[in-house]
Amino acid sequence: MNKILVVDDDTDILGLVEMLLNSHHYKVRAISRWQEIDNSIDNFKPDLVLLDVSLGGADGREICKKIKSEKETASLPIILFSANPEMGKFLKECHAQSFIPKPFELKNLLGTISHYLNPIN
């Protein structure tokens, strides 16, 4: 079973996504505090990270860059998540795999996740 780490400072969205992914047979760890990311990656060892860009005090893009720059986590697929559709342009810059705008289509979310999980699996 694939493990997905979801990071978003909005607990409502966190709840929704967790519930969504759970009902589609993914194992989910949902955190609202970005400071816990490193910890979660070490402990939970996710197969994919769904990362919100505006994290209340931190920029998801920077965090993505940092994760991608570390050797152990360089190959971890990261999907950026944002209400601002312009954020999609920063994919290359921070080495993220894909971008999902909010609000999202269910199909879109699930499709993108499975697309980026399969190569690894």
């Binding site: 601002n84 312009e86 999202f104």
Partner: protein, 454 residues
């Protein structure tokens, strides 16, 4: 009359007035002085003559006296007549013999000089050994004065005309200092009002009231700009914030849609979902507008097949429209244009959904693609309520919603504003034509590849 003309006239008028007053004063004083000098010199002559004629009077030598007076006239032709009277007022000698009418006046004179009818009368006593033995009268023709005055008037008039011309010139240049700044301000204001651009600043170093006016105006403009910025920021923030709970609502309702099958629950969920989608569109529009205003909207340019896009858009809109039939007229054109595919899709979708929105009941919507050498034209025709001619120029404005319809049309009225902005950025044009029944929206895009796009 413009302020410029007023200033010029004011200055010229003042100049002319002052000039005329001065001229009058000077001319008057000149004349007065001349007269005084004349009187002085004539009195002097009279005195000398009088002294010389004492003996003639004493010895009653009229002939000698007349000769003396005649000589006087030859030497000073301006003295047209002279007469010597004795103590009883009787004429002793006179030249010319006929005399002049003024001599009778001279007799009654109390002063020794009198100006009358462009002539000067002089009366001087002839005194011998402290005793008055008679009077000498002179009549002086003031031709010199008349000539002087004529030439003075001519010169004065000439100078006046010259000064008027000069004053106009000077006034014209000077007034530009004041009116230039004012006109500049007026022009800037007009521009700001007509274009809605409040960014133009005015350079002005003046420290007078006009300078103050310009400063206050600039401050006002800054305030307006601030307000605009705040408003746009607010729209941006608001739409951003709105998206977050929207995401949750949409997500859960979508889940419900998948989970519920029985009526009426599934109907409720479907209706709720439709509304959520509408909400999403509204917020998207708001966000787009705020981006346009703050200049953040950027186009992702690429070459793409417009014909395929049209077909794809028609089918996706058709999918959610049960009531209308969207038909594509004309040939299939494979045409590559350079533009932002997502934004062009947005324009098409907006036009199509407008066509559907504004033609209630089962109707047709016709889409036509045409091309010529320079540009590609896409027409979207509906058969609905139409748009009155008076509103044609307004419908592309922000927040404009057509007024005449009885049916409530939802939306902020931003769709066409966004469309226009997108098309303009592609160096294209967008306009409408009112038909007998319904409206045709037309937009054109330039065909040449890689054209400069903002």
């Amino acid at each position: 009359m413009s302020i410029r003309k007023k200033l010029v006239l004011m200055q010229v008028f003042t100049t002319v007035l002052v000039l005329i007053i001065m001229m009058i004063v000077f001319i008057a004083s000149d004349i007065k002085e001349y007269k005084l000098r004349k009187v002085d010199s004539m009195l002097g002559i009279a005195q000398v003559l009088g002294t010389n004629s004492i003996s003639m009077l004493q010895f009653q030598d009229q002939a000698a006296a007349i000769e003396m007076l005649a000589q006087l006239h030859n030497v000073s032709p301006e003295i047209i007549a002279a007469e010597i009277t004795n103590n009883h007022g009787q004429v002793f000698a006179r030249y010319p013999a006929a005399g002049e009418p003024e001599f009778s006046l001279a007799a009654g004179m109390k002063e020794n000089s009198l100006f009358r009818n462009s002539r000067l009368l002089i009366k001087y006593p002839i005194i011998s050994s402290k005793e008055k033995i008679g009077d000498i009268h002179l009549i002086v023709q003031l031709t010199e004065l008349q000539k002087l005055m004529k030439s003075t008037y001519k010169v004065a008039l000439f100078l006046l005309l010259l000064s008027v011309g000069f004053a106009f010139l000077v006034a014209f240049f000077i007034q530009s200092y004041v009116s230039r700044r004012l006109l500049n301000l007026v022009r800037t204001m007009k521009k700001a009002v007509s274009t809605g651009e409040y960014t133009v600043t005015i350079a002005d170093e003046g420290k007078d009231e006009i300078g103050t006016l310009i400063q206050v105006y600039s401050k006002l403009m800054e305030q307006i700009k601030e307000n605009e910025k705040k408003k746009d920021e607010f729209i941006g923030i608001a739409s951003h914030e709105l998206k977050t709970p929207l995401t949750t609502v949409k997500g859960y309702i979508e889940m419900l849609k998948l989970m519920e099958t029985e009526h009426p629950k599934i109907d409720f969920v479907e209706s709720a979902f439709k509304s959520v989608l509408k909400l999403e569109d509204l917020i998207k529009d708001l966000l787009d507008v705020s981006k346009i205003e703050s200049g953040q909207l950027q186009l992702a340019m690429e070459n793409f097949d417009i014909s395929r896009l049209v077909d794809a858009t028609i089918s996706s809109v058709q999918m959610i429209s049960a009531t209308h039939n969207i038909v594509r007229k004309g040939q299939m054109e494979n045409e590559i244009i350079y533009g932002d595919i997502k934004k062009i899709e947005q324009v098409l979708t907006n036009l199509l959904s407008n066509a559907i929105k504004y033609s209630p009941g089962e109707q047709k919507v016709i889409v036509e693609v045409e091309k010529d050498e320079k540009e590609l034209t896409i027409k979207v025709r509906d058969f609905g309520i139409g748009i009155p001619v008076e509103e044609h120029s307004f419908i592309f404005e922000r927040f404009y919603r057509t007024k005449g319809s009885s049916v409530h049309i939802s939306g902020f009225g931003l769709g066409l504003y966004i469309c226009r902005d997108i098309i303009r950025r592609h160096n294209g044009k967008i306009w409408i034509k009112s038909m007998e029944k319904g409206t045709t929206f037309i937009f054109s895009l330039p065909i040449s590849k890689k054209t400069q796009i903002v």
